[in-house]
């Protein structure tokens, strides 16, 4: 079974539930990923991830055929996937943005 994927997009392994932009792709672009049509909600920069199917909060996120973390909220097809909706199963990621400070109460 072949599932068509746009040449601007990479899906690294058959079980993956993330798609990867091979170059910068503008918001609003319509793309086919593994046979499903999605519209990008925001601009995706090279290497960044987006969903091509609906993922419930708590779903294990799979890239390279391996778990890279878990969805922290429901994710819709075409949504960007990053630190705002995916978190590590090991150690949370620290960023410089307000509200993403690593050290949390009780840690």
């Amino acid at each position: 079974m072949t599932q068509i994927t746009d040449p601007r997009v990479l899906v690294l392994a058959p079980d993956d539930n993330v798609a990867i932009a091979k170059s910068d792709i503008p918001a609003g672009t319509t793309l086919t990923v593994m046979g499903t049509t999605v519209i990008l909600k925001v601009k995706e920069e090279v290497g960044h991830k987006f969903a091509f199917k609906a993922l419930k909060k708590g779903t294990t996120i799979v890239k390279y055929g391996a778990p890279i973390g878990v969805a922290t909220q429901d994710i819709a097809p075409g949504d960007s996937m990053h630190i705002h909706n995916v978190t590590s199963d090991y150690i949370p990621t620290y960023t410089l943005d307000e509200g993403h400070q690593f050290f949390k109460e009780g840690h």
């Binding site: 170059s23 290497g47 391996a66 090991y90 150690i91 990621t93």
Partner: protein, 399 residues
């Protein structure tokens, strides 16, 4: 293809003919830099250890670095009262047959006199090193390390797997390849264990990564920085998957710790995370701390992949920079040796870039300058750590 190497008195073969000026405490740093600076384009490099308190790890690191195969001589600069065991270091270097001198600033009479004496020794030693015998070196005598720095989401798609291919080509020829940063292999432990030479080593790999996960959790940060996240890496597991690709597909022959030099070819995992209770802060405070450890394990050169765009090189051993991200390459091509982003653009395959890296490794071993060497990059850093010796299961080939 063989390599035209420099033969040291202890039988080791180097691909560069450098002299190191090594400060043994921060108090001797300025004088060491003044001695080294006029000769920095003549193969003289500056290394050192800033701490005043003695430490087994840093002593071993300095011994290994001052007797590295690329090093032909060493000038040790001591203030005079620091805790570093300079006598033992001096003796180790002397026994290796390399020219060595120890200058104690307090005894020599201060800044001016020490700088003058140091420069005179460097001039004389550089002349002496012109007569270093050249010898044929085979690929199976080469040791190559790999590291990634300034990673983004393209690192694990292009540069890291391409370097993994180059590692596979090297291991096929029985060269020694070392990959590291167990803190960036979190989540990969069970996959890696399956690649171990035997199941006992596999169990050690799982334990080694568990140690790294615990260590980083104690300090509240995984080895993933704000720039990694800007570059599209969301979690440490995702970064790890990309970093893991640097190791290629070969069988893993053993686990080593900083300063252990493998005695036969193959692929080795370097455990960079200290043993025991977390004591001295983050395992490696920046990329060059890892390069220093790869060199202490005998690496003649390091492969360095970057997506965001690192510029660093290293003292002692050349660094080949493989750029993962096409946009970064366009901005920073002066600093990059290999444009692996071509893979994403559909202009090259992983195999082609892997072969290109392999060919470049051989040319660099034969004296071709890397971009960071041409630009004069000679970064170096060494801090405190503590390690237990590796167990018998970690290096089954040696038993």
């Amino acid at each position: 293809m063989t390599i035209n190497a420099y033969l040291r008195a202890d039988g080791r073969k180097g691909i560069r003919n450098t002299v190191v000026v090594a400060y043994l405490v921060e108090c001797a740093h300025h004088i060491s830099r003044e001695i080294y600076y006029p000769f920095r384009e003549n193969g003289v490099h500056l290394i050192g250890f800033p701490g005043c308190f003695p430490n087994v790890y840093s002593h071993k690191m300095m011994e290994r670095l001052c007797t590295h195969p690329n090093v032909g001589g060493a000038l040790l600069v001591s203030l005079g009262c620091e805790g570093f065991n300079k006598g033992k270091l001096l003796e180790t270097i002397r026994k290796s047959g390399r020219p060595v001198k120890l200058l104690e600033i307090q005894g020599t009479g201060g800044t001016r006199k020490t700088i003058a004496e140091g420069k005179a020794w460097i001039e004389q030693t550089l002349k002496q090193l012109e007569d270093t015998p050249r010898v044929k070196m085979d690929i199976d005598e080469l040791i190559v390390g790999t590291i990634c720095g300034g990673s983004d989401a393209t690192s694990g798609l292009t540069a890291n797997p391409a370097m993994g291919r180059a590692f596979d080509f090297l291991v096929e020829k029985d060269a020694t390849c070392i990959f590291e940063e167990t803190g960036e292999l979190i989540g990969m432990e069970h996959w890696m264990a399956k690649r171990a030479e035997n199941p006992v080593l596999g169990e050690e790999i799982v334990k080694t990564v568990a140690k790294a996960a615990k260590y980083y959790a104690t300090y509240g940060h995984a080895s993933i920085g704000p720039g990694n996240a800007d570059g599209g890496l969301t979690t440490i597991e995702e970064k790890s998957l990309g970093a893991y690709a640097k190791s290629g597909q070969s069988v893993i022959s053993g686990i080593i710790k900083p300063g252990d030099v493998p005695i036969k070819g193959g692929l080795y995992l370097l455990d960079v995370v200290p043993d025991g209770e977390p004591l001295f802060g983050f395992p490696n405070i920046s990329d060059n701390a890892e390069i220093a450890e790869l060199m202490a394990c005998g690496s003649h050169m390091s492969l360095f992949s970057t997506g965001r765009g690192s510029v660093v090189g290293s003292a002692i051993a050349p660094v080949i920079k493989v750029c993962a991200n096409p946009a970064t390459y366009k901005r920073m091509s002066d600093d990059m040796d290999v444009d692996a982003g071509r893979i994403l653009e559909g202009r090259a395959t992983l195999d082609e870039v892997g072969r290109e890296i392999y060919d470049l490794i051989l040319r660099v071993a034969n004296g071709e300058q890397t971009k960071s060497e041409e630009l004069g990059h000679q970064e170096f850093i060494l801090t405190y750590k503590s390690f237990e010796p590796i167990g018998p299961a970690c290096y089954p080939s040696a038993a």
